[in-house]
Amino acid sequence: MKETINVIVIDDNEYFNNVLSTSLQQSVTSIVFKGRHQLVMRSFTNGEDYVRMIRSGELACNHSAIFIDYYLGKGLNASHIIKLLRESSCDNMIVLMSQSAGVKDKESLPDYDYFVVKDNFAPALCSLYLKQFIENRFSVSVD
């Protein structure tokens, strides 16, 4: 049975969400061709939708690489979602993204794995972290 790798992008900016999702998908296409894993790519412009799907069991939170923007609109930020994911004890990687590098210095931030500034290198850097996550957790070479 193929192992499922969930790749989740949560960003309220549709443009960046799309760019990042495309970039991530391209970076790990090679493992899909190897046939042992299947990649489930989901993008959300709304963090609430993701939380609802996780809670309903519609989407597994295990084996997930989650790329989440800090500011999610409507006065919401990624903190409560990261907290929720950490409490679930799921085996996942959380990459926190923000336009501002200063975000990572916020004291109230829950534990995340990587921080990426949403600049032009962000898609490439996120892809690098995704590859690293897959290689480490699934013992498969992505390149």
Partner: protein, 807 residues
């Protein structure tokens, strides 16, 4: 898991079982063949025997027919008196004897049939007598003459025949005067018959009648006997047929039994073989598992050794490095001595770690030799100062010589040559007190054009007993147990030397006697050096590092004390040092800063040095000429050097490093880094128009799209749409005085603007976000928003123009 002895035992048992069953199978096969042959032979034999009685019966029937013929002939003659009619009779009776003899011969092995043949013979004799009497009653001249001829014939036969056994005719015609009719008596009888013919006419009819009656009786008896014989033969045939049938039945039974046994045996062999194959498969699997486990264990061990050595090396490097720095700061005498002890101890510890690492690599055949041009003289010179102090402390003189004919440049692995020399000289120094240690190099050119370098290290030390010469090259071995206690050491030095020499296709030999010193010689083949190197022989000039002043260097290492050591040394040379404790931090720094040189640690948590370097080269497009990357590692990277170079790493610096090594690395890399290299933009679809022009840069978008123009178009439309909406939200929020909403909306619009290179729009929106978060007046926000809308319109025009070109 089965062990080796179990496997051997199983193999032996299986072999015995299969062997025994095979022997049994062969025996069964042989028995089957034998029994089948025997029974089939018997059946064939009986068939052959069965064929013969038919011939015998034929002979008997021939005799019977002959008798009929003879009787008819006699009867015809008695009626016709024609001598021609009696001829068949004589013909028959002349052959009858042969036929009876033939029959007797055929029945010679059967007493019953032989007896009956004798009876037939006797009856024939009587019958012939009767027929003769009948003929005598019908005599005439011709009859008499015939009888005379017959008598002559009989005489002649009597004289010539040597047969002991008498034929029927002979017996008939050689009877005594009373009971036998011989030729003379027959003639007399015939004469008498002639004479009495007229007298006995009446009596003849009566006698003829009596003779005929007797003949019939005899004939009946004769046929009865023939019938009996036929019955006897038929009985025999039937008995033999029954016997053959029985034998065939037995054969079938045997064949069935043997076939069943053979089948069972084959099944047993098959079961045993299947079981054996299954067990062998299980053992094979267990063996594979064991091998995999052993390999995994070896890998784990190797990794453990590498990791441990790294873990130990890192702090020891720092200790050694900082001690060196403190020693360079001219401390007081007491502190200097203490620091020298620390330095010496940490260097010794590093040497042990190096030995263990090298030994592990040599054992696992992982050590890869380098091939570069080097100066053998320089290596000899470099080794000298390493032991000069120690030799002086031991009261030992240390000297070296380089033969004048030694080539200035050779091609090979100088690091390993130096390692061999350091080990050998170090050993000699260690075991020589108040004596002398010399090392020298000579060379000779081989027929193949190679240069054989002969290293010789001689000392006047404690020497080694001849019986232990071989042993000292073994792993973890020293000549005496007490040696390790007295002089220290792991016992790996000479073992490593031997392995290194052999790895380079060289030879090593030793001449030594206890208390008479030691001479160790190594002959290692090298190629002639092709390039010219800066040999700088015999010079130990103070290095000038003023040219390095002002360089900007980034040091990336997760170990703080390593970064500090770098900083301490580099800042002495007026180099500007920046630090990053992880690969991620380094990338963040590189986004906004440019450095002349980067020192990158290999192993770091999160993003390791290799991946970070690859990202710098591939994604950030900072070329090797623009910013050289020097990889720092405690482990040897020989076998992966090519991979690292391909990732964009310029040079390597091995930990622990000396100030000199660091200076070499910085000067070397800085020199190479002087070539300007363009910071290449990511352009994947240049033919579609101005990707980079005043206000936009679509390079990144095209890079991600990987040639998918529809995606590009879709993304551009998406940008226009979301930005338009976002700007309206900002305008609306400004109207409502909702500062947070203004900041949030502006913030959300920033990444796409930056991604498309719309930096003017980006800056305006960034200003809006900043002002709104800082609650700066709505007037300025309104002005900024207006400018943003105008700029957005300009960007949209550019994008639409681009899309039009795409179409």
């Amino acid at each position: 898991m089965p062990d080796k002895s179990d496997k051997m035992s199983l193999k032996g048992t299986i072999q015995v079982k299969v062997g025994l069953l095979m022997v049994l199978a062969v025996m069964l096969l042989l028995a089957t063949c034998y029994l089948s042959y025997r029974n089939l032979s018997a059946v064939v034999s009986s068939i052959r025997i069965d064929a013969n009685p038919q011939l015998k019966l034929l002979t008997i029937r021939e005799i019977a027919m002959d008798l009929e013929k003879a009787e008819n002939s006699v009867r015809l003659y008695t009626v016709t008196k024609n001598p021609a009619d009696i001829k068949p009779y004589y013909s028959v009776i002349s052959r009858i004897d042969d036929k009876v003899a033939k029959l007797r011969k055929e029945f010679r092995n059967d007493s019953v049939l032989l007896r009956q043949t004798d009876d037939i013979s006797r009856l024939l004799e009587q019958n012939i007598l009767l027929w003769n009497q009948l003929l005598a009653l019908n005599k005439d001249d011709k009859v008499s003459e015939y009888f005379r001829k017959l008598a002559d014939q009989l005489d002649s036969l009597a004289q010539n025949s040597e047969k002991k056994e008498k034929g029927i005719l002979r017996r008939v015609f050689s009877r005594n005067p009373k009971a036998q009719i011989d030729g003379q008596a027959l003639r007399t009888g015939i004469d008498s018959l002639f004479r009495q013919d007229s007298l006995a006419k009446d009596e003849m009819i009566i006698r003829e009648s009596r003779i005929a009656s007797t003949g019939r009786q005899l004939k009946g008896k004769f046929y009865d006997l023939i019938s009996r014989m036929e019955n006897e033969i038929t009985g025999t045939i039937t008995a033999k047929a029954e016997s053959a049938g029985k034998m065939a039945g037995n054969t079938y039974t045997w064949l069935i039994l043997l076939a069943v046994s053979g089948g069972l045996l084959a099944m047993m062999i098959l079961i045993i073989i299947v079981r054996y194959v299954r067990k062998a498969g299980a053992y094979q699997e267990a063996l594979e598992t064991s091998r995999a486990e052993a390999e995994q264990l070896a890998r784990t061990k190797e990794l453990f050794v590498a990791n441990m050595s790294h873990e130990i090396r890192t702090p020891v490097t720092a200790i050694s490095g900082f001690t060196g720095q403190l020693l360079g700061a001219k401390p007081d005498e007491e502190t200097r001595k203490s620091l020298e002890i620390i330095k010496s101890s940490s260097d010794h510890l590093l040497k042990i770690i190096d030995d263990i690492l090298d030994f592990s690599k040599l054992q696992n055949e992982k050590l890869v030799l380098e091939r570069v041009d080097f100066s053998p003289r320089r290596i000899m010179e470099e080794v000298y100062p390493l032991f000069e102090g120690q030799a002086r402390q031991n009261g030992t003189s240390l000297s070296f010589s380089v033969d004048g004919g030694t080539p200035r440049v050779l091609s090979g692995d100088p690091y390993r040559l130096k390692q061999i020399l350091i080990n050998l000289v170090g050993n000699s120094i260690k075991f020589t007190k108040n004596g002398s240690v010399k090392y020298s190099v000579t060379s000779r050119e081989t027929a193949a054009g190679e240069i054989e370098l002969q290293l010789e290290v001689s000392d006047t030390g404690i020497g080694i007993d001849e019986s232990k010469h071989e042993m000292i090259f073994e792993d973890f071995t020293q000549a005496e147990m007490s040696t390790a206690r007295k002089y220290g050491g792991t016992g790996l030095g000479l073992s490593i030397v031997k392995k290194l020499v052999h790895l380079q296709n060289g030879t090593i030999s030793i001449k030594s006697k206890r208390n008479q010193g030691t001479v160790i010689s190594c002959i290692i083949p090298y190629r002639k050096g092709s390039g010219s190197i800066d040999v700088n022989e015999g010079k130990n000039e103070a290095r000038d590092h003023t040219e390095l002043a002002g360089l900007k260097v980034l040091v990336v290492d997760d170990e703080e004390y390593n970064r500090l050591l770098f900083r301490k040394i580099l800042e002495k040379w007026n180099i500007e040092v920046s630090e990053a404790s992880s690969g991620m931090d380094a990338l963040e720094l590189l986004k906004t800063n440019r450095y002349d040189l980067l020192f990158m640690d290999m192993l770091m948590p999160g993003l390791d040095g290799l991946k970070a370097t690859k990202f710098i080269r591939d994604e950030m497009k900072i070329g090797t000429g623009q910013m050289p990357v020097i990889f720092i590692s405690a482990a040897s990277i020989d076998e992966e050097a090519e991979k690292f170079r391909n990732a964009g790493i310029n040079a390597f610096l091995r930990k622990p490093f000396t100030e000199e090594m660091l200076l070499d690395a910085v000067t070397g890399a800085a020199g190479k880094g002087s070539e300007p290299e363009a910071h290449a933009a990511r352009v994947d679809a240049p033919e579609t128009g101005p990707l980079k022009e005043d206000g936009i840069n679509l390079g990144d978008l095209y890079h991600i799209a990987a040639g998918d123009r529809d995606f590009v178009r879709q993304m551009l439309l998406s940008f226009e749409d979301t930005t338009r909406k976002g700007l309206k939200e900002i305008e609306s929020a400004i109207g409502d005085g909702n500062w947070d909403q203004v900041a949030e909306s502006a913030h959300r619009l920033l990444p796409p603007c930056r991604h498309l290179g719309a930096m003017e729009l980006f800056n305006l929106l960034h200003e809006i976000e900043k002002n709104s978060r800082e609650r700066i007046s709505t007037d300025s926000l309104g002005s900024l928003t207006e400018r943003s809308v105008i700029e957005f319109g300009r960007v949209c025009k550019l994008l639409e123009g681009h899309m039009a070109k795409m179409a």
